[in-house]
């Protein structure tokens, strides 16, 4: 049997990473090329060419390819979407214009309201109406639909979103409109709200459908381009893209419902964390990904990443109730729930008008970057502070490819922070790191404690270029007892692409009181969604033996509007099973909000089915054991500042590539590799496992 490979390609803002894994041996190859923003497919293909050359793998032997991309988001943010129209119920042409009627910023006189993705002259009303139970109050004016279709043909409208009031209960009018448009406006691609997002609240459903419509032609075009080029290169693999929910989707499905892959890139990181921790038997995990501009924290429970549907595309990252609402385009498709904050290596430190040190959310980005990059950066950043404190090796950044300017960084911190604060430079540099850490602790709290999950029962997986530098300290603050730092933390996200399953999520809304619920009706809803899921999976070539389904009911107390999901079994629901689901709900509620109310009536709202097509994971390659002891992996020692000690300590420096299974390192120490450095604080220790992971914990605990 010929050797078979899996290929993951992650197109990020700066770099396009490719990861190739041998299905037999688990051997991994990595390639990194610059992203080509004008046409990302150029960088994509360059990365593929490079990795094939590097690994010696033959194109026809690539059996499986997964792509993570931000092409959908970028098209939206940069306004590179084709002419798109919107069709809605008479009286609601301004649904997108009005939005939520709020200002995105409370005190900014010069605020701008989000400009709708479809201009008002391309929003059309059609006479039709359903009531809140889905009954027809007014029939569809088909004549008008045909008229509009003709206009689409004349005006070269490429895409259209259709969203009628209450269509989530009854798609009849939307489907008939779609049918008529396909016939009379064959060049216009329809997106139908009751298919894309059949959930209550018209503005959010409409917005989701409009986002889908706007990016559909762009994404379809892009994916088709890649597909034909890959074929030309001889790659015949199944082509998949990462979805925002962490599952994969065929190119065909992605082109149809691109709104589901809007946060494709960040999702891959969480999936990687889940995979890495899962290999070691951990299923409750915090993923911590810190790169150049932001840090992202995500939560995985029972081996499943937390997923949210409360998301805005292109919104300003500002956690807090009511604060950033309205700054982005809301979508109601499942997105892996990440708390993202403006604290990455390039985040700028400054002293504000009140004489207080602040960090972020302004970032020096990749260009000019931190002062120490010598690319003209003048503002001190978190990376500069890490350098000044001895936490980064100026001679071994990116494996020595970049020689860092320690003196420049120190001088910048002195001038911009230390002098205005009346502190010495090291105290100021330490302050920058401490404030950034405090912000990250807040992000981690939002991810865990705020939702009622005790960090002491979790394990953290840290990655991204800067993650392993800060993670140990964050775990100590959060009382997270175990930290895992995988090999090559900088490319862990691309690895995530290769370790996920095919995943489709379906949901329906049917509100009923739990004590009067019609179990048969619920079973019918679940069965219908499950059939839809298995049909999709079958079309994607997944055998029945690898299909599985997860059912959830989203519930609330009658009268509320926010639901909590409760898992239920896949068998037919009986009255007893429903009662069990209800008591589970009271428990979940108490955990989240301090107190449950078992005597209050409970309502069932949304029914969700997740259809999973399991993809066998590649074997995880173990690293070979070393003949030598850990002392041979030690490159030397240097002075590193630790805030808990209030000064510099002599710190051992280790070469990650010389560490083998069973090696044991005691903090304070630094472990250096190509794309990252891991800091082990005093009082902590690291053990190297057979996969090459560093397992870090307090000294008393992990021995």
């Amino acid at each position: 049997m010929s050797r078979r490979f899996r290929l993951g390609v992650d197109v990020g803002g700066t770099f396009t990473d490719a990861v190739l894994i041998s299905e037999e041996t688990g051997e991994i190859h990595i390639a990194k090329v610059s992203t080509t923003p004008k046409d990302p497919s150029i960088g994509f293909l360059a990365a593929v060419t490079q990795i094939l050359a590097k690994s010696g793998a033959q194109a026809p032997n690539v059996s499986y390819l997964v792509h993570g991309t931000t092409v959908a988001t970028n098209a939206l943010i940069e306004g590179k979407t084709p002419k798109t129209a919107f069709i809605t119920t008479e009286g609601f042409r301004d649904l997108l214009e009005i939005g939520r009627q709020v200002r995105p910023s409370l005190y900014d006189i010069h605020f701008q309201k989000l400009r709708p993705l479809v201009p008002r002259d391309l929003c059309f009303e059609i006479s039709e109406r359903l009531d809140a139970s889905g009954n027809v109050l007014r029939t569809l004016d088909e004549h008008r639909v045909v008229e509009i279709a003709k206009k689409f043909e004349q005006e070269d409208i490429r895409s259209v979103a259709i969203c009628f009031l209450h269509s989530y209960l009854n798609p009849m009018h939307e489907e008939r409109t779609e049918q008529l448009l396909r016939k009379h406006a064959p060049h216009t691609v329809p997106s139908v709200s009751s298919h894309i997002c059949p959930e209550i609240r018209e503005y959010f459903r409409a917005s989701t459908t409009v986002v889908n419509a706007c990016i559909k032609p762009v994404v379809a075009n892009y994916l088709q381009g890649i597909e034909s080029q890959l074929k030309r290169q001889g790659i015949k693999a199944e082509l998949l893209t990462m979805q925002s929910n962490g599952g994969v989707l065929t190119f065909e499905q992605a082109a149809e419902r691109p709104v589901f892959m809007i946060e494709s890139g960040p999702a891959a990181g969480v999936i990687a964390a889940n995979f890495i921790a899962g290999n070691l038997g951990f299923s409750d995990v915090v993923s911590f990904d810190m790169g150049g501009t932001t840090a992202k924290a995500g939560l995985i429970l029972g081996g499943r990443p937390k997923v949210t549907k409360d998301y805005e595309v292109g919104a300003e990252a500002r956690p807090g109730a009511g604060q950033s609402r309205g700054s982005g385009y809301p979508i109601r498709t499942p997105v892996i729930d990440l708390v993202e904050i403006g604290a990455g290596g390039g985040s700028i430190a400054w002293v504000d008008a009140g004489g207080v040190l602040r960090v972020g959310s302004q970032s020096a980005g990749a260009d000019p970057g931190p002062i120490c990059y010598r690319r003209g950066g003048t503002e001190p950043t978190i990376t500069d502070a890490n350098l000044a404190l001895g936490r980064i090796n100026p001679r071994y950044f990116l494996g020595g490819e970049m020689d860092l300017d320690l003196q420049g960084a120190t001088e910048g911190i002195r001038k911009k922070c230390a002098i205005p604060l009346g502190l010495d430079t090291i105290a100021a540099a330490n302050g920058i790191v401490e404030i950034a850490n405090a912000a990250m602790v807040n992000a981690l709290r939002l991810t865990t404690v705020r939702r009622g999950y005790d960090p002491r029962a979790l394990v953290m997986v840290a990655f991204g270029g800067a993650g392993p530098l800060h993670a140990n300290r964050l775990c100590a603050e959060m009382q997270i007892p175990r930290l895992i730092v995988p090999l090559s933390p900088g490319t862990a996200s691309a690895l995530g692409l290769l370790t996920t399953d095919v995943r489709h999520e379906f949901s329906r809304t049917r509100i009923m009181r739990a004590d009067q619920a019609d179990a048969d009706a619920i079973n019918r809803i679940f069965v219908a969604m499950q059939e839809e899921g298995s049909e999709l999976l079958r079309r994607e070539g997944i055998p029945v033996s690898r299909m599985s389904f997860l059912r959830e009911i989203e519930m609330r107390y009658k009268g509320q509007s926010y639901e909590l999901p409760v898992t239920c079994g896949t068998g037919p629901l009986s009255a007893e099973a429903l009662a069990q689901v209800c008591s589970q709900f009271h428990g979940e509620y108490e955990r989240a909000y301090g107190r449950g109310y078992p005597t209050e009536p409970v309502e069932l709202v949304n029914y969700r089915v997740t259809a999973v097509g399991a993809i066998p994971h590649p074997p995880v390659r173990k690293i070979s054991s070393r003949d030598c002891g850990v002392d041979q992996a030690q490159k030397g020692a240097r002075q590193v500042f630790f805030s808990e000690s209030g000064g510099f300590l002599s710190t051992g420096v280790y070469d990650r590539y010389k560490l083998g299974p069973g090696h044991h390192i005691v903090g304070p120490s630094v472990v250096e590799e190509m794309d990252s450095s891991t800091l082990i604080h005093p009082g902590f220790e690291a053990n190297v496992d057979s996969f090459g992971n560093l397992l870090i914990g307090a000294r008393a605990v992990s021995t």
Partner: protein, 584 residues
């Protein structure tokens, strides 16, 4: 390291930032909890609530708002309520309720819940939140009707204990619920208020466990000083002088007499004084506000004009002085009605921006919606037999700014409530909303035009509810600035098979099934001369149907070919010269 000793010595700028964020985080967490556990559309969807932490001396420390209207309310009512009830009478797990405007709360709908925060037996401060309840009884459903006295407006809660050491005081709850119409929603929202305080205490306890009370209290002191210091630095930067502005409300809600509001703002580099002398006396009518609501408008306007990054706490308020004659419409006294207090406060923001337009011409908007615009209704739900109440507030046009148009259909100034989704509203209440749209041609013309108002229609199904409007701007429009035109007036209409008639902007009426109640909110004022507007922008507005071709010609002097979608240049130049001459 002993943190207590460290705190006693000097300020650590890093710890300062950490504790500051943790405090506001705790109040954010309260707000998230409130939203997710609330029952009424007004709170869970429209976000008409806020949360805060106040220290043992009654000073505002940290807050998480959804609504700027709540900027100072909690800081005003908590010390007063605690003083009245007696701090020594408070135990861990207690929750106090208060809503009395004549005790400097806001209007009766806004119920405050206040809990003591004890740490190792010491009373360190209070967590509190404010929620606008959909009904608190009184003369009309949703409790926003126009009456003469506070007693007609609903249930007055002086300071009462709803929860005692973790146990709900059943008699108090029974008494409250007996006096309100939408019992399930009010009960559910009260539970949400209790939960939010519980969550706030949980989070503050963790903070105290980490740093200890002396350290946290030390930094609270520093945080208050920090805000004051930064506000002072900003005041030193602002132009000095005394600036005047005035405006009037259509009527007081009982008589047709307009309510005249007047303000003089004095900036002297060290403080700011807002003097409302000359404002009309209070009337036995709903359009009065109390000192808290007047203060709110002043803090809001100042906050908009200086660095928005300055945290809001007691220190922020210190350099602000208010002169509001007792017994006037901006400092109303017992027993007058006061439910329209936020309407007055909202208009005060307009008066203050107008006053400051000569001093800070690039930093203020032209006249905006400038009203809260409440629409409420209630009655027996024909489907359930329960008495229901519904309340919402509608957006309108924002004023033009120095370099951009006023946004269309948004909430303005101290208000930022979301709209109620039509599908959710029709599902939960016996009403249908056949139209929700912009009002074309409602812009105030200008180089930067005012935003458009919006239109919403209501038709009731199977019953005859009592509908109440509490709004304004049907007589006096949002004015333009620096040559800009006024926005279109608001209209409140009842449309039957045979007639369309205007209904008052304040008051209640019964509406029959099939009749359409229609509200068209006002447009915003323009900024600068309309003939200076970029003709391409006028073309875009006409093309999008926001401005008619006729109005483009009459108000902006731009002639548009609506077949080819081009500007008739020569004709437009002539029209613009004409407009310019007419103005002179």
């Amino acid at each position: 390291m002993n943190s207590n000793e460290a705190a006693a010595q000097s300020l650590n700028p890093i710890l300062f930032e950490v504790i500051r964020n943790a405090l506001s985080e705790a109040t954010e967490e309260m707000s998230v909890c409130l939203q997710r556990t609330a029952y009424s559309t007004n709170i869970k969807t429209r976000l008409d609530f806020s949360s805060a932490y106040v220290d043992a001396r009654g000073r505002m420390v940290a807050q998480a708002f959804c609504q700027p209207a709540h900027l100072v309310t909690i800081g005003r009512i908590v010390p007063r309520a605690v003083a009245e009830y007696g701090a020594k009478n408070l135990r861990p797990g207690d929750v106090l309720l208060v809503n009395d405007p004549h005790r400097q709360a806001s209007h009766l709908n806004d119920i405050f819940s206040i809990s003591p925060f004890h740490y190792t037996d010491e009373l360190l401060g209070y967590v509190a939140n404010i929620c606008h309840h959909v009904d608190v009884g009184g003369g009309a459903p949703s409790s926003i009707g126009a009456f003469r006295e506070i007693y007609q407006e609903g249930l007055i809660l002086p300071v009462v204990k709803l929860v005692s050491e973790g146990e709900i005081v059943a008699d108090v709850l029974k008494m409250v619920l007996a006096n309100v119409r939408a019992k399930k929603e009010v009960a559910g929202d009260l539970r949400a208020q209790i939960s939010a305080n519980q969550i706030g205490i949980r989070r503050l306890t963790q903070l105290l466990d980490r740093y200890g009370a002396p350290t946290v209290n030390f930094y609270i002191e520093k945080l208050i000083e920090y805000s004051e210091h930064r506000v002072l630095a900003e005041l030193a930067r602002l132009p000095r002088g005394t600036f005047e502005g005035e405006d009037q409300l259509d009527d007081d809600g009982i008589t047709s007499e307009p309510v005249h509001l007047k303000a003089r703002v004095t900036l002297d580099g060290k403080s700011v004084t807002f003097d409302f002398t000359g404002t009309d006396s209070q009337r036995p009518a709903p359009m009065n506000c109390n000192l808290t609501q007047t203060f709110t408008a002043c803090v809001y306007v100042l906050k908009c004009l200086i660095d928005r990054d300055i945290p809001l706490n007691e220190g922020f308020y210190r350099p602000i002085h208010i002169v509001a004659p007792e017994g006037s419409a901006v400092n109303a006294t017992h027993p007058t009605a006061i439910v329209g207090g936020w309407e007055v406060s909202m208009r005060l923001c307009e008066v203050l921006f107008k006053a400051l337009s000569s001093a800070l011409p690039e930093q203020v908007p032209a006249g905006s919606k400038g009203m809260v615009c409440h629409v409420g209704f209630g009655g027996k739900d024909p489907n359930t037999g329960d008495y229901y109440c519904f309340l919402e507030t509608l957006g309108g046009g924002y004023g033009g700014r120095v370099s951009s148009d006023g946004p269309d259909a948004v909430q303005t100034h101290i208000q930022n409530t979301q709209n109620a989704p039509v599908e959710e509203t029709e599902l939960n209440y016996p009403v249908r909303i056949p139209r929700y749209s912009l009002v074309p041609d409602s812009d105030g013309a200008g180089r930067w035009r005012g935003g458009l108002g919006l239109c919403r229609e209501y038709v009731y199904v199977g019953h005859q509810p009592v509908v109440t409007i509490l709004a304004d701007r049907a007589k006096f429009p949002a004015l333009g600035l620096f040559g800009g035109g006024a926005g279109k007036l608001a209209r409140y209409l009842l449309i039957t098979d045979t007639s369309t008639r205007e209904i008052p902007s304040k008051g209640s009426m019964q509406v029959k099934p099939g009749e359409i109640m229609r509200v068209e909110t006002c447009g915003g004022g323009g900024y600068g001369y309309a003939w200076e507007r970029d003709a391409e922008l006028v073309l875009r507005d006409v093309r999008e149907g926001k401005v008619s071709a006729k109005r483009a010609r009459d108000a902006y002097g731009v002639s548009i070919d609506t077949v080819k979608w081009t500007i008739n240049q020569v004709e437009s130049e002539r029209l613009r010269r004409q407009l310019q001459r007419k103005k002179r």
